[in-house]
Subunit: 188 residues, 2 copies
């Protein structure tokens, strides 16, 4: 019933690799999870405070000459337990909100050319994502082969590749359909 705060687990999962500050967490999410996850500072800092209050992490303030102090958090045994529990629990069904599909669904209200534009721009978006994921995959295979977490990272990147490919293929199919509709104007 209760909606769970997933940000909490994203942060605990990253802290399980080693102590980090809120700033580090933000960077790590952008680099490692950007594909399928995001968090803003407005979420990260309050959640990290709550984590320390609950005893799932400990806080350590490090002096940083010139720059602001670093608030470094370390996961506790209790924190690892909570993380482990979540990792083995059942996962809620995926919920997507795909704006371009909403626009296409209401396509009757605009010209075929406008719908085409939307699908073509969506296609371009995923062509670029695909390129990006393939580069990350190469990098992980070449330069991270010795990291024990590398197989898991490759699996998540691979999901991005499958999904972006599916989107591109769907776009190609849809662009074809729309072009046929342009050529055969039997719509009143």
């Amino acid at each position: 019933m209760a909606r769970e705060n997933k940000s909490k687990y994203a942060i605990l999962g990253l802290l399980a690799r080693g102590p980090m500050s809120g700033y580090d967490i933000k960077k790590s999410i952008e680099i490692g999870l950007g594909n399928f996850w995001s968090e803003s500072y407005g979420q990260i800092y309050p959640v990290m405070n709550a984590l320390a209050d609950e005893g799932l992490t400990t806080r350590d303030i490090q002096k940083n000459d010139g720059k602001p102090d670093r608030h470094v958090y370390t996961i506790t045994d209790k924190g690892r337990e909570v993380l482990h529990k979540w990792l083995t629990e059942s996962t809620e069904p995926l919920k997507l909100r795909v704006e371009v599909l909403l626009k296409l669904f209401f396509g009757k209200n605009v010209s075929l050319e406008e719908s085409l534009k939307q699908v073509e721009s969506f296609r371009q978006e995923h062509i670029e994502k695909l390129k990006h994921y393939l580069a990350i995959e190469e990098y992980l295979k070449q330069d991270r082969a010795d990291n024990p977490e590398q197989p898991y990272w490759l699996m998540t990147v691979s999901c991005g590749i499958w999904v972006s490919r599916a989107f591109v293929d769907w776009c190609d199919e849809t662009i074809e359909k729309l072009k046929v509709m342009v050529e055969t104007p039997n719509n009143q």
Copy 2:
């Protein structure tokens, strides 16, 4: 800069087909857009009120013997204009939050069997979605062939099919990888 309320456009898009109540909107979203969109009453009713206040719709209260009155909203010309503008505007990049990938990314913290369980359950989820979308596709082809909006509906359903297939294929690939890891325990 400003984050836009997309609920507004989902509702306007449905009202463009004909007058509806909040209750009707909820049903229509579940049936027609459930694949890639959702709205709760807590969003729908306030947004529909705001729409009327802005002059994008008009409100009409219909007596409904025995049952509660129906508040039926009709889109105005101004409403159609606003809808049209949004439909032709550029669309924000897609942002996904895939919980199962977060769990897999942190796979090092649990056994391979636990990761396998997560991926297998995700696979099952999309096998069922796929079956569902294929049934809807059949229905649209058989019983809605004469509807001028049918081609657009088919395109959005097709996207669900492509994406669910991609997820299932990724699961198969990932399950294989995890099984190989179980058999070759070279992880410290």
